[in-house]
Protein backbone atom coordinates (compact mmCIF):
# COMPACT_ATOMS: atom_id res chain seq x y z
CA UNK A 1 0.00 0.00 0.00
CA UNK A 2 1.39 3.28 -1.06
CA UNK A 3 0.09 5.65 1.56
CA UNK A 4 1.68 8.66 3.19
CA UNK A 5 0.83 8.44 6.85
CA UNK A 6 0.69 11.85 8.45
CA UNK A 7 -0.65 11.90 11.98
CA UNK A 8 0.39 15.51 12.29
CA UNK A 9 -2.35 16.46 9.85
CA UNK A 10 -4.75 17.31 12.68
CA UNK A 11 -2.66 20.26 13.71
CA UNK A 12 -2.35 21.65 10.23
CA UNK A 13 -4.63 24.52 9.30
CA UNK A 14 -7.77 23.45 7.54
CA UNK A 15 -8.49 24.92 4.10
CA UNK A 16 -11.51 26.65 5.56
CA UNK A 17 -9.27 29.42 6.75
CA UNK A 18 -9.96 29.21 10.45
CA UNK A 19 -8.58 26.58 12.78
CA UNK A 20 -6.96 23.24 12.23
CA UNK A 21 -8.32 19.94 10.96
CA UNK A 22 -8.75 18.93 14.58
CA UNK A 23 -10.97 21.96 15.14
CA UNK A 24 -12.96 20.93 12.10
CA UNK A 25 -13.59 17.47 13.51
CA UNK A 26 -14.45 18.87 16.93
CA UNK A 27 -16.96 21.27 15.42
CA UNK A 28 -18.47 18.25 13.67
CA UNK A 29 -18.60 16.45 16.99
CA UNK A 30 -20.44 19.32 18.63
CA UNK A 31 -23.07 19.28 15.86
CA UNK A 32 -23.38 15.53 16.34
CA UNK A 33 -23.91 15.90 20.06
CA UNK A 34 -26.34 18.81 19.69
CA UNK A 35 -28.39 16.93 17.11
CA UNK A 36 -28.41 13.77 19.22
CA UNK A 37 -29.51 15.56 22.39
CA UNK A 38 -32.21 17.71 20.77
CA UNK A 39 -33.67 14.82 18.80
CA UNK A 40 -33.64 12.66 21.92
CA UNK A 41 -35.82 15.18 23.73
CA UNK A 42 -38.43 14.74 21.00
CA UNK A 43 -37.89 10.99 20.77
CA UNK A 44 -38.24 10.42 24.49
CA UNK A 45 -41.25 12.62 25.14
CA UNK A 46 -43.16 11.79 21.98
CA UNK A 47 -42.17 8.13 22.25
CA UNK A 48 -43.49 7.98 25.80
CA UNK A 49 -46.82 9.45 24.74
CA UNK A 50 -47.15 7.07 21.79
CA UNK A 51 -46.13 4.11 23.92
CA UNK A 52 -48.73 5.01 26.54
CA UNK A 53 -51.39 5.39 23.82
CA UNK A 54 -50.72 1.81 22.78
CA UNK A 55 -51.40 0.54 26.30
CA UNK A 56 -54.67 2.40 26.88
CA UNK A 57 -57.94 0.48 26.64
CA UNK A 58 -59.27 2.96 24.08
CA UNK A 59 -59.31 1.53 20.57
CA UNK A 60 -58.86 4.98 19.02
CA UNK A 61 -55.76 5.67 21.12
CA UNK A 62 -54.37 2.29 20.13
CA UNK A 63 -54.98 2.95 16.47
CA UNK A 64 -53.21 6.31 16.60
CA UNK A 65 -50.23 4.81 18.44
CA UNK A 66 -49.97 1.82 16.15
CA UNK A 67 -50.25 3.95 13.01
CA UNK A 68 -47.48 6.21 14.23
CA UNK A 69 -45.11 3.40 15.12
CA UNK A 70 -45.65 1.46 11.93
CA UNK A 71 -45.26 4.54 9.77
CA UNK A 72 -42.05 5.80 11.31
CA UNK A 73 -40.24 2.57 11.91
CA UNK A 74 -40.96 1.03 8.52
CA UNK A 75 -39.59 3.79 6.33
CA UNK A 76 -35.78 3.87 6.09
CA UNK A 77 -34.22 6.69 8.04
CA UNK A 78 -32.42 7.96 4.94
CA UNK A 79 -35.70 8.19 3.05
CA UNK A 80 -37.30 9.98 5.99
CA UNK A 81 -34.41 12.44 6.03
CA UNK A 82 -34.97 13.22 2.34
CA UNK A 83 -38.72 13.50 2.82
CA UNK A 84 -38.33 16.03 5.62
CA UNK A 85 -35.65 18.04 3.86
CA UNK A 86 -36.54 17.97 0.17
CA UNK A 87 -40.23 17.05 -0.01
CA UNK A 88 -41.84 18.67 3.01
CA UNK A 89 -41.00 22.30 2.05
CA UNK A 90 -42.52 21.66 -1.38
CA UNK A 91 -45.83 20.37 -0.09
CA UNK A 92 -46.19 23.16 2.47
CA UNK A 93 -47.88 26.40 1.35
CA UNK A 94 -45.40 28.34 -0.81
CA UNK A 95 -44.47 31.06 1.69
CA UNK A 96 -43.96 28.66 4.56
CA UNK A 97 -42.00 26.29 2.32
CA UNK A 98 -39.71 29.12 1.21
CA UNK A 99 -39.23 30.28 4.79
CA UNK A 100 -38.31 26.76 5.82
CA UNK A 101 -35.79 26.47 3.03
CA UNK A 102 -34.17 29.78 3.95
CA UNK A 103 -33.94 28.95 7.63
CA UNK A 104 -30.36 29.25 8.87
CA UNK A 105 -29.15 25.83 9.98
CA UNK A 106 -32.07 24.20 8.19
CA UNK A 107 -30.22 20.86 8.01
CA UNK A 108 -29.86 20.91 11.79
CA UNK A 109 -33.53 21.54 12.51
CA UNK A 110 -34.56 19.04 9.90
CA UNK A 111 -32.24 16.39 11.27
CA UNK A 112 -33.50 17.00 14.82
CA UNK A 113 -37.14 16.61 13.76
CA UNK A 114 -36.48 13.64 11.53
CA UNK A 115 -34.40 11.72 14.06
CA UNK A 116 -36.75 12.67 16.87
CA UNK A 117 -39.82 11.37 15.07
CA UNK A 118 -38.01 8.26 13.85
CA UNK A 119 -36.52 7.33 17.21
CA UNK A 120 -39.82 8.10 18.95
CA UNK A 121 -41.36 5.11 17.21
CA UNK A 122 -38.66 2.90 18.68
CA UNK A 123 -38.87 4.46 22.14
CA UNK A 124 -42.65 4.01 22.00
CA UNK A 125 -42.24 0.27 21.60
CA UNK A 126 -39.84 0.10 24.53
CA UNK A 127 -42.22 2.09 26.71
CA UNK A 128 -45.13 -0.14 25.71
CA UNK A 129 -43.10 -3.25 26.49
CA UNK A 130 -42.11 -1.80 29.85
CA UNK A 131 -45.66 -0.96 30.83
CA UNK A 132 -46.99 -4.31 29.66
CA UNK A 133 -44.34 -6.15 31.63
CA UNK A 134 -45.75 -4.79 34.89
CA UNK A 135 -48.27 -6.93 36.77
CA UNK A 136 -51.85 -6.00 35.87
CA UNK A 137 -52.50 -5.50 39.56
CA UNK A 138 -50.25 -2.44 39.68
CA UNK A 139 -52.60 -0.41 37.51
CA UNK A 140 -55.53 -1.84 39.46
CA UNK A 141 -53.98 -0.81 42.77
CA UNK A 142 -53.47 2.73 41.52
CA UNK A 143 -57.00 2.88 40.18
CA UNK A 144 -58.42 1.40 43.38
CA UNK A 145 -56.72 4.13 45.42
CA UNK A 146 -58.60 6.74 43.43
CA UNK A 147 -55.91 7.71 40.93
CA UNK A 148 -57.16 8.85 37.55
CA UNK A 149 -55.73 7.06 34.53
CA UNK A 150 -53.21 9.87 34.05
CA UNK A 151 -52.16 9.70 37.71
CA UNK A 152 -51.82 5.93 37.54
CA UNK A 153 -49.41 6.30 34.64
CA UNK A 154 -47.57 9.21 36.19
CA UNK A 155 -47.10 7.79 39.69
CA UNK A 156 -47.24 4.02 39.24
CA UNK A 157 -46.76 2.63 35.75
CA UNK A 158 -44.22 4.91 34.10
CA UNK A 159 -41.72 5.16 37.00
CA UNK A 160 -41.55 1.36 37.03
CA UNK A 161 -41.61 0.92 33.27
CA UNK A 162 -38.75 3.38 32.75
CA UNK A 163 -36.64 1.55 35.30
CA UNK A 164 -37.21 -1.72 33.48
CA UNK A 165 -36.45 -0.35 30.03
CA UNK A 166 -33.46 1.76 30.98
CA UNK A 167 -30.92 -0.66 29.42
CA UNK A 168 -32.64 -0.88 26.01
CA UNK A 169 -33.35 2.86 26.15
CA UNK A 170 -29.62 3.40 26.51
CA UNK A 171 -29.09 1.40 23.34
CA UNK A 172 -31.74 3.50 21.67
CA UNK A 173 -29.96 6.67 22.71
CA UNK A 174 -26.69 5.34 21.28
CA UNK A 175 -28.45 4.41 18.04
CA UNK A 176 -29.89 7.89 17.86
CA UNK A 177 -26.44 9.38 18.37
CA UNK A 178 -24.93 7.29 15.60
CA UNK A 179 -27.91 7.90 13.32
CA UNK A 180 -27.06 11.60 13.28
CA UNK A 181 -24.45 10.66 10.69
CA UNK A 182 -27.27 10.08 8.19
CA UNK A 183 -27.88 13.82 8.34
CA UNK A 184 -24.71 14.42 6.34
CA UNK A 185 -26.85 13.60 3.30
CA UNK A 186 -28.89 16.75 3.87
CA UNK A 187 -25.82 18.86 4.49
CA UNK A 188 -25.45 18.82 8.26
CA UNK A 189 -21.76 19.31 9.03
CA UNK A 190 -21.66 16.70 11.74
CA UNK A 191 -18.73 14.46 12.60
CA UNK A 192 -18.91 12.03 9.69
CA UNK A 193 -19.41 14.89 7.22
CA UNK A 194 -16.38 16.66 8.68
CA UNK A 195 -14.25 13.52 8.49
CA UNK A 196 -15.23 13.18 4.86
CA UNK A 197 -14.33 16.75 4.01
CA UNK A 198 -11.04 16.37 5.84
CA UNK A 199 -10.32 13.34 3.71
CA UNK A 200 -11.22 15.22 0.55
CA UNK A 201 -9.07 18.21 1.41
CA UNK A 202 -6.05 16.38 2.77
CA UNK A 203 -6.27 12.87 1.24
CA UNK A 204 -5.51 11.51 4.74
CA UNK A 205 -8.50 9.15 4.72
CA UNK A 206 -7.21 6.78 7.40
CA UNK A 207 -6.32 9.52 9.83
CA UNK A 208 -9.62 11.30 9.29
CA UNK A 209 -11.81 8.26 9.85
CA UNK A 210 -9.67 6.86 12.64
CA UNK A 211 -10.20 10.12 14.48
CA UNK A 212 -13.94 10.08 13.75
CA UNK A 213 -14.22 6.48 14.94
CA UNK A 214 -12.38 7.23 18.15
CA UNK A 215 -14.54 10.27 18.79
CA UNK A 216 -17.75 8.27 18.27
CA UNK A 217 -16.52 5.54 20.59
CA UNK A 218 -15.47 8.02 23.25
CA UNK A 219 -18.76 9.87 23.23
CA UNK A 220 -20.66 6.57 23.40
CA UNK A 221 -18.54 5.46 26.33
CA UNK A 222 -19.48 8.67 28.11
CA UNK A 223 -23.15 7.92 27.44
CA UNK A 224 -22.76 4.37 28.74
CA UNK A 225 -21.02 5.60 31.88
CA UNK A 226 -23.82 8.10 32.42
CA UNK A 227 -26.48 5.43 31.90
CA UNK A 228 -24.75 3.13 34.37
CA UNK A 229 -24.71 5.88 36.98
CA UNK A 230 -28.37 6.63 36.27
CA UNK A 231 -29.27 2.94 36.61
CA UNK A 232 -27.53 2.80 39.94
CA UNK A 233 -29.20 6.03 41.06
CA UNK A 234 -32.75 4.91 40.27
CA UNK A 235 -32.31 1.30 41.40
CA UNK A 236 -34.96 0.35 43.93
CA UNK A 237 -33.62 -1.15 47.18
CA UNK A 238 -34.56 -4.79 47.49
CA UNK A 239 -36.28 -4.75 44.14
CA UNK A 240 -35.70 -4.89 40.46
Amino acid sequence: MNYNWNWGIFLEPSPEGVGTYADMLLSGLSWTVATALCSWVIAFSLGSVIGVLRTLPSKAANAVGTAYVELFRNVPLLVQMFLWYFVLPEVLPTEIGTAVKQLPDAPFYTAVLCLGFFTASRVAEQVRAGIQSLPRGQAMAGTALGFTTAQTYRHVLLPNAYRIILPPLTSEFLNNLKNTSVALTIGLLELTARARSMQEFSFQVFEAFTAATILYVLINLVVIAGATLLERYVAVPGGR
Binding site: G137, L145, G146, F147, H155
Partner: protein, 286 residues
Protein backbone atom coordinates in the same frame (compact mmCIF):
# COMPACT_ATOMS: atom_id res chain seq x y z
CA UNK B 1 -54.95 -15.55 67.01
CA UNK B 2 -55.13 -12.31 68.86
CA UNK B 3 -56.22 -8.95 67.70
CA UNK B 4 -53.48 -6.41 67.10
CA UNK B 5 -53.46 -4.01 70.03
CA UNK B 6 -54.46 -0.46 69.28
CA UNK B 7 -51.91 2.26 69.94
CA UNK B 8 -52.82 4.33 72.96
CA UNK B 9 -55.10 6.97 71.50
CA UNK B 10 -54.73 9.41 74.36
CA UNK B 11 -51.10 10.20 73.69
CA UNK B 12 -51.78 12.39 70.70
CA UNK B 13 -48.92 14.84 70.78
CA UNK B 14 -49.58 18.19 69.23
CA UNK B 15 -46.82 18.85 66.73
CA UNK B 16 -47.06 22.61 66.80
CA UNK B 17 -49.06 25.05 68.83
CA UNK B 18 -51.95 25.97 66.61
CA UNK B 19 -54.55 28.53 67.43
CA UNK B 20 -57.34 27.00 65.39
CA UNK B 21 -58.48 23.48 65.99
CA UNK B 22 -56.52 21.21 63.65
CA UNK B 23 -58.76 19.88 60.93
CA UNK B 24 -57.26 16.45 61.20
CA UNK B 25 -57.60 16.09 64.93
CA UNK B 26 -59.70 13.02 64.35
CA UNK B 27 -56.79 11.39 62.62
CA UNK B 28 -54.42 11.70 65.53
CA UNK B 29 -56.65 10.72 68.38
CA UNK B 30 -59.53 8.31 68.18
CA UNK B 31 -59.50 4.90 66.55
CA UNK B 32 -57.68 4.95 63.27
CA UNK B 33 -60.33 3.15 61.33
CA UNK B 34 -63.18 5.51 62.01
CA UNK B 35 -64.50 6.22 58.55
CA UNK B 36 -65.48 9.73 57.53
CA UNK B 37 -69.16 10.58 57.71
CA UNK B 38 -70.98 8.47 55.20
CA UNK B 39 -72.78 10.33 52.46
CA UNK B 40 -75.93 8.31 52.93
CA UNK B 41 -76.61 7.43 56.50
CA UNK B 42 -79.43 5.06 55.79
CA UNK B 43 -79.43 2.01 53.57
CA UNK B 44 -76.78 -0.65 53.11
CA UNK B 45 -73.12 0.20 52.51
CA UNK B 46 -73.02 -1.99 49.42
CA UNK B 47 -76.05 -3.06 47.46
CA UNK B 48 -75.43 -5.47 44.59
CA UNK B 49 -78.54 -5.87 42.49
CA UNK B 50 -78.97 -8.43 39.72
CA UNK B 51 -75.41 -8.03 38.46
CA UNK B 52 -74.42 -10.04 35.39
CA UNK B 53 -71.13 -9.88 33.57
CA UNK B 54 -69.72 -11.44 30.44
CA UNK B 55 -66.21 -11.84 29.12
CA UNK B 56 -67.18 -11.93 25.46
CA UNK B 57 -69.50 -14.91 25.16
CA UNK B 58 -68.59 -16.31 28.54
CA UNK B 59 -70.87 -15.37 31.40
CA UNK B 60 -68.82 -14.94 34.58
CA UNK B 61 -71.50 -13.48 36.85
CA UNK B 62 -75.15 -14.41 36.75
CA UNK B 63 -77.78 -12.29 38.41
CA UNK B 64 -75.85 -11.67 41.63
CA UNK B 65 -77.78 -9.90 44.35
CA UNK B 66 -76.66 -9.22 47.89
CA UNK B 67 -76.17 -6.47 50.42
CA UNK B 68 -73.54 -5.49 52.92
CA UNK B 69 -74.89 -3.47 55.82
CA UNK B 70 -72.90 -0.77 57.57
CA UNK B 71 -70.40 -2.30 59.97
CA UNK B 72 -71.04 -5.76 58.61
CA UNK B 73 -68.29 -8.24 57.73
CA UNK B 74 -69.22 -10.45 54.81
CA UNK B 75 -67.01 -13.30 53.66
CA UNK B 76 -67.30 -14.46 50.06
CA UNK B 77 -66.08 -17.97 49.37
CA UNK B 78 -66.36 -20.57 46.67
CA UNK B 79 -64.24 -22.70 44.37
CA UNK B 80 -61.75 -21.02 42.07
CA UNK B 81 -63.34 -19.64 38.96
CA UNK B 82 -66.63 -19.10 40.75
CA UNK B 83 -66.53 -15.36 40.12
CA UNK B 84 -65.95 -14.15 43.66
CA UNK B 85 -62.92 -12.01 42.81
CA UNK B 86 -64.72 -10.65 39.77
CA UNK B 87 -67.72 -9.73 41.87
CA UNK B 88 -65.68 -7.86 44.46
CA UNK B 89 -63.84 -5.98 41.71
CA UNK B 90 -67.18 -4.89 40.30
CA UNK B 91 -67.94 -3.14 43.58
CA UNK B 92 -65.38 -0.39 42.94
CA UNK B 93 -65.70 -0.70 39.16
CA UNK B 94 -62.25 -2.19 38.62
CA UNK B 95 -64.19 -4.60 36.44
CA UNK B 96 -67.11 -3.37 34.35
CA UNK B 97 -70.37 -5.28 34.39
CA UNK B 98 -73.04 -5.30 31.75
CA UNK B 99 -76.26 -5.77 33.69
CA UNK B 100 -77.58 -4.80 37.08
CA UNK B 101 -76.45 -2.11 39.45
CA UNK B 102 -74.13 -1.76 42.43
CA UNK B 103 -74.59 1.04 44.92
CA UNK B 104 -71.80 1.92 47.33
CA UNK B 105 -72.74 4.24 50.17
CA UNK B 106 -75.54 5.70 48.11
CA UNK B 107 -73.47 6.17 44.94
CA UNK B 108 -74.34 4.15 41.85
CA UNK B 109 -71.23 2.51 40.42
CA UNK B 110 -72.60 2.10 36.90
CA UNK B 111 -73.72 5.59 36.15
CA UNK B 112 -72.24 8.00 33.65
CA UNK B 113 -72.44 10.81 36.17
CA UNK B 114 -70.46 8.98 38.85
CA UNK B 115 -66.93 10.22 39.50
CA UNK B 116 -65.30 6.81 39.75
CA UNK B 117 -61.90 7.95 41.08
CA UNK B 118 -63.72 9.79 43.87
CA UNK B 119 -65.83 6.74 44.65
CA UNK B 120 -62.83 4.42 44.62
CA UNK B 121 -60.94 6.70 46.98
CA UNK B 122 -63.65 5.95 49.56
CA UNK B 123 -63.42 2.19 49.02
CA UNK B 124 -60.28 0.52 50.35
CA UNK B 125 -59.04 -2.47 48.44
CA UNK B 126 -56.47 -5.11 49.32
CA UNK B 127 -55.17 -7.42 46.60
CA UNK B 128 -53.95 -10.99 46.56
CA UNK B 129 -50.48 -9.92 45.43
CA UNK B 130 -50.28 -6.82 47.66
CA UNK B 131 -49.50 -4.50 44.75
CA UNK B 132 -47.44 -2.07 46.75
CA UNK B 133 -45.64 0.34 44.45
CA UNK B 134 -42.12 -1.14 44.28
CA UNK B 135 -40.33 2.10 43.45
CA UNK B 136 -41.66 3.95 46.49
CA UNK B 137 -40.59 3.64 50.10
CA UNK B 138 -43.14 2.27 52.55
CA UNK B 139 -43.85 5.80 53.76
CA UNK B 140 -44.41 7.04 50.22
CA UNK B 141 -46.62 4.05 49.48
CA UNK B 142 -48.75 5.09 52.44
CA UNK B 143 -48.90 8.78 51.58
CA UNK B 144 -48.93 9.14 47.80
CA UNK B 145 -52.66 8.60 47.30
CA UNK B 146 -53.51 10.72 50.34
CA UNK B 147 -51.57 13.59 48.79
CA UNK B 148 -52.44 13.14 45.13
CA UNK B 149 -56.04 12.02 45.46
CA UNK B 150 -57.29 13.56 48.70
CA UNK B 151 -55.00 16.58 48.52
CA UNK B 152 -53.83 16.16 52.09
CA UNK B 153 -50.79 18.23 53.05
CA UNK B 154 -47.62 16.15 53.11
CA UNK B 155 -47.14 16.34 56.87
CA UNK B 156 -50.70 15.24 57.65
CA UNK B 157 -50.48 12.39 55.16
CA UNK B 158 -47.20 11.28 56.66
CA UNK B 159 -48.56 11.40 60.19
CA UNK B 160 -51.58 9.33 59.25
CA UNK B 161 -49.49 6.88 57.24
CA UNK B 162 -47.04 6.34 60.07
CA UNK B 163 -49.85 5.99 62.63
CA UNK B 164 -51.36 3.23 60.53
CA UNK B 165 -47.97 1.63 60.00
CA UNK B 166 -47.63 1.47 63.75
CA UNK B 167 -51.07 -0.04 63.98
CA UNK B 168 -50.05 -2.89 61.69
CA UNK B 169 -46.86 -3.26 63.73
CA UNK B 170 -44.34 -2.18 61.12
CA UNK B 171 -43.12 1.23 62.30
CA UNK B 172 -39.52 0.09 62.03
CA UNK B 173 -39.86 -0.40 58.29
CA UNK B 174 -41.06 3.07 57.27
CA UNK B 175 -37.96 3.85 55.26
CA UNK B 176 -37.65 0.47 53.55
CA UNK B 177 -38.95 -0.49 50.13
CA UNK B 178 -41.58 -3.16 49.41
CA UNK B 179 -38.96 -5.53 48.00
CA UNK B 180 -37.24 -5.57 51.37
CA UNK B 181 -40.30 -6.83 53.26
CA UNK B 182 -41.78 -10.31 53.56
CA UNK B 183 -45.09 -11.09 51.92
CA UNK B 184 -46.98 -10.83 55.18
CA UNK B 185 -45.39 -7.50 55.97
CA UNK B 186 -46.17 -6.20 52.50
CA UNK B 187 -49.78 -7.19 52.85
CA UNK B 188 -50.03 -5.42 56.20
CA UNK B 189 -48.60 -2.29 54.58
CA UNK B 190 -51.13 -2.68 51.78
CA UNK B 191 -53.93 -2.75 54.37
CA UNK B 192 -52.51 0.36 56.03
CA UNK B 193 -52.26 2.06 52.64
CA UNK B 194 -55.94 1.41 51.98
CA UNK B 195 -56.92 2.57 55.48
CA UNK B 196 -54.94 5.77 55.07
CA UNK B 197 -57.62 6.98 52.67
CA UNK B 198 -60.29 6.81 55.42
CA UNK B 199 -62.40 4.35 53.44
CA UNK B 200 -66.03 3.76 54.32
CA UNK B 201 -65.67 0.12 53.37
CA UNK B 202 -62.79 -2.29 52.81
CA UNK B 203 -62.66 -4.93 50.08
CA UNK B 204 -60.25 -7.82 50.39
CA UNK B 205 -59.51 -10.00 47.38
CA UNK B 206 -57.95 -13.21 48.70
CA UNK B 207 -55.55 -11.27 50.93
CA UNK B 208 -53.77 -14.36 52.26
CA UNK B 209 -53.74 -16.65 49.22
CA UNK B 210 -50.29 -15.59 48.03
CA UNK B 211 -48.68 -15.81 51.46
CA UNK B 212 -46.47 -18.45 52.96
CA UNK B 213 -48.48 -20.29 55.60
CA UNK B 214 -46.56 -18.83 58.52
CA UNK B 215 -47.46 -15.31 57.40
CA UNK B 216 -51.18 -15.81 57.07
CA UNK B 217 -51.76 -15.26 60.77
CA UNK B 218 -50.21 -11.81 61.00
CA UNK B 219 -52.40 -10.53 58.16
CA UNK B 220 -55.55 -12.12 59.52
CA UNK B 221 -54.81 -10.58 62.92
CA UNK B 222 -54.88 -7.13 61.39
CA UNK B 223 -58.12 -7.93 59.59
CA UNK B 224 -59.73 -9.27 62.74
CA UNK B 225 -58.73 -6.08 64.52
CA UNK B 226 -60.34 -4.04 61.78
CA UNK B 227 -63.54 -6.03 61.93
CA UNK B 228 -63.71 -5.61 65.70
CA UNK B 229 -63.30 -1.84 65.24
CA UNK B 230 -66.49 -1.83 63.22
CA UNK B 231 -65.13 -1.50 59.69
CA UNK B 232 -67.49 -2.62 56.96
CA UNK B 233 -65.69 -5.39 55.12
CA UNK B 234 -66.28 -7.62 52.12
CA UNK B 235 -63.68 -10.36 52.11
CA UNK B 236 -63.01 -12.94 49.44
CA UNK B 237 -61.11 -15.67 51.25
CA UNK B 238 -60.75 -19.35 51.87
CA UNK B 239 -59.83 -18.74 55.50
CA UNK B 240 -62.82 -20.31 57.17
CA UNK B 241 -61.25 -19.69 60.58
CA UNK B 242 -61.43 -15.98 59.87
CA UNK B 243 -65.01 -16.33 58.67
CA UNK B 244 -66.00 -18.18 61.83
CA UNK B 245 -64.32 -15.63 64.02
CA UNK B 246 -65.53 -12.31 62.65
CA UNK B 247 -67.90 -12.75 59.72
CA UNK B 248 -71.50 -11.74 60.13
CA UNK B 249 -72.53 -13.35 56.88
CA UNK B 250 -71.05 -15.80 54.42
CA UNK B 251 -71.73 -15.76 50.71
CA UNK B 252 -70.97 -18.90 48.76
CA UNK B 253 -70.50 -18.58 45.02
CA UNK B 254 -70.24 -21.20 42.31
CA UNK B 255 -70.09 -20.77 38.54
CA UNK B 256 -70.82 -17.08 38.73
CA UNK B 257 -73.88 -17.40 40.91
CA UNK B 258 -74.49 -16.59 44.53
CA UNK B 259 -75.59 -20.00 45.71
CA UNK B 260 -75.80 -19.32 49.40
CA UNK B 261 -76.11 -16.07 51.32
CA UNK B 262 -76.52 -16.85 54.99
CA UNK B 263 -75.51 -15.83 58.47
CA UNK B 264 -72.29 -17.37 59.66
CA UNK B 265 -74.15 -19.66 62.04
CA UNK B 266 -76.51 -20.91 59.36
CA UNK B 267 -73.73 -21.38 56.83
CA UNK B 268 -71.40 -23.36 59.03
CA UNK B 269 -74.25 -25.09 60.84
CA UNK B 270 -76.08 -26.46 57.89
CA UNK B 271 -75.52 -25.07 54.40
CA UNK B 272 -78.67 -25.52 52.40
CA UNK B 273 -77.15 -26.20 49.00
CA UNK B 274 -75.37 -29.40 48.15
CA UNK B 275 -72.57 -27.50 46.41
CA UNK B 276 -71.83 -25.47 49.52
CA UNK B 277 -71.86 -28.64 51.61
CA UNK B 278 -69.35 -30.26 49.27
CA UNK B 279 -67.16 -27.16 49.28
CA UNK B 280 -67.19 -26.95 53.06
CA UNK B 281 -66.43 -30.62 53.52
CA UNK B 282 -63.43 -30.28 51.21
CA UNK B 283 -62.09 -27.09 52.68
CA UNK B 284 -62.62 -28.04 56.32
CA UNK B 285 -61.35 -31.60 55.89
CA UNK B 286 -57.76 -30.61 56.56
Amino acid sequence: MTSTPMPAPAAATPTAPTSEAPADAGLRAGPLVTPPPATATAGPMIAIEAVSKWYGEFKVLTDCTTRVARGEVVVVCGPSGSGKSTLIKCVNALEPFQEGQITVDGTRVKDRGTNLPKLRARVGMVFQHFELFPHLSITDNLTIAQRKVLGRPGEDARKRGLDLLERVGLSAHAKKYPGQLSGGQQQRVAIARALAMNPVVMLFDEPTSALDPEMVGEVLDVMVGLARDGMTMMVVTHEMGFARKVADRVIFMDRGEIVEDATKEAFFGQPRSERAQQFLSKILAH
